[in-house]
């Protein structure tokens, strides 16, 4: 099946997501304008600075086209992307898309010196029992409401959640060599 996965390329580590998707043999597209969404079967919103992404998404009119896209296609947000897919964010400087019934808290673990790597149990992924999760100035999912399923938790807190075809991941699977989360996302596109 021909699938093309868009990666929002306004700012952040979009190239890392594209490189990982390409190792899985899927075609990718760097999305810099909303009309490019029409060419895609799914979208990843990468890590970066959520304030910067907000400014650029407002400036280029991404909000409504992206919400419309999410009704028909899977969307995965990682780190800053997880903040943007949330319904509520603790900071008025960030304007979320509200694709998912969760609340997000920015920089919830502290500053950069508090960034960390940890192995997380992955009951929903086949293969190795854990996933090497890289948390960088990471957000927390501070509320998980109706309809949202928790897929992975770390230290008792949700770090990967799903509602329908929307995924939010607070860490960075694209910075590892483990492509299982990207494969899980791609499976959503074949439904």
């Amino acid at each position: 099946m021909a699938r093309k996965i868009g990666v929002l390329a306004l700012q952040g580590d979009f190239a890392k997501h594209m490189a990982m998707l390409e190792t899985l043999g899927v075609e990718t597209l760097a999305i810099k304008k909303p009309q490019q969404l029409e060419e895609c079967d799914a979208l990843i919103i990468p890590g970066g600075e959520s304030t910067t992404l907000t400014k650029l998404m407002v400036k280029y009119g991404f909000y409504e086209p992206l919400r419309e896209f999410s009704r028909r296609h899977p969307v995965m947000g990682t780190c800053a992307g997880a903040i943007l897919v949330a319904k509520d964010v603790d900071d008025p400087r960030v304007q979320p898309l509200g694709l998912m019934n969760i609340a997000a808290k920015r920089n919830a673990y502290g500053r950069q010196v508090d960034s960390f790597v940890t192995d997380i149990n992955t009951p929903m992924l086949a293969g190795a029992p854990t996933f090497p999760a890289v948390f960088i100035r990471a957000p927390k999912i501070s509320a998980v409401r109706n309809g949202v399923e928790i897929l992975m938790s770390s230290a008792g807190e949700p770090v990967m959640v799903q509602e329908g075809n929307i995924l939010a991941v607070t860490f960075h699977p694209e910075l590892t060599k483990d492509n299982r989360i990207h494969r899980y996302f791609l499976e959503l596109t074949s439904d």
Binding site: L10, Q11, G48, T51, K55, Q112, V113, F116, I136, L175
Partner: protein
Amino acid sequence: MEKATFETKVGLAEMLKGGVIMDVTNADQAKIAEDAGAVAVMALERIPADIRQAGGVSRMSDPAMIAAIQECVSIPVMAKCRIGHFAEAQILEHMKIDFIDESEVLTPADEANHIDKHQFKAPFVCGCRDLGEALRRIGEGAAMIRTKGEAGTGNVVEAVRHMRQVMGDIRRLTTLREDEMMSFAKNLGAPYELVKLTAKLGRLPVPNFAAGGIATPADASLMMQLGAEAVFVGSGIFKSADPLPRAKAIVESVTHYEDPEVLLRVSTNLGEAMVGIEMKDLPEEEQLAKRGW
């Protein structure tokens, strides 16, 4: 759980890609930078153009001024220490600075040694003029490399020279046979293992940003098209006539660096750019890029 590994240090640099890091000297400027869409701010008492004017020894900024900026923005805050001044770096790390710039813009504290950056939890960015210098800094633990350019001049020519040199060195390296790499490493004065890794990757092992003399959206686009993955703007924004629109325009020009339609729009009616300095009017002893090795 492992905190502050090389992976998380480089990881933050990855998150800053496609963005603009702006020099700011107070909380008001920091807010303007964040509002314009900066991915990070560099907190310093005097921007490079004023350091040039003032002369004398330029040191790490007062922590109180840096802390005031940390208080008022949510984006990463960077700060500069002198080349080789690991005590300044220890202070910056203790105040949880997100990235430390071991910078030639300040007066070097050690003419023989740069900081052993592996000893720190905070990530470091360092300047370079060529691949050898970049790989020496990465060998010492830098998690991000930037061109030195010539800070505080508003003249992009040196940043272009340094970026072309780094990218050209990498292109030449990728054409070599493996048995030619030791000799290449010797000539560059670069660690052999990092030379081999760079050849394998076809790029620097850490993100490669541009700095030093960028003053317009077109300057930023030029550096991105030459291979930079993000851009530092020092004096270029707050030495211009109208900082906020210029800051916003440079943010857009980095995202859409290959789109002349956007570049045309954001370059129009920006007001006066900062006054630039011609390199021939800058005596060699005043050239900051010559500091460090």
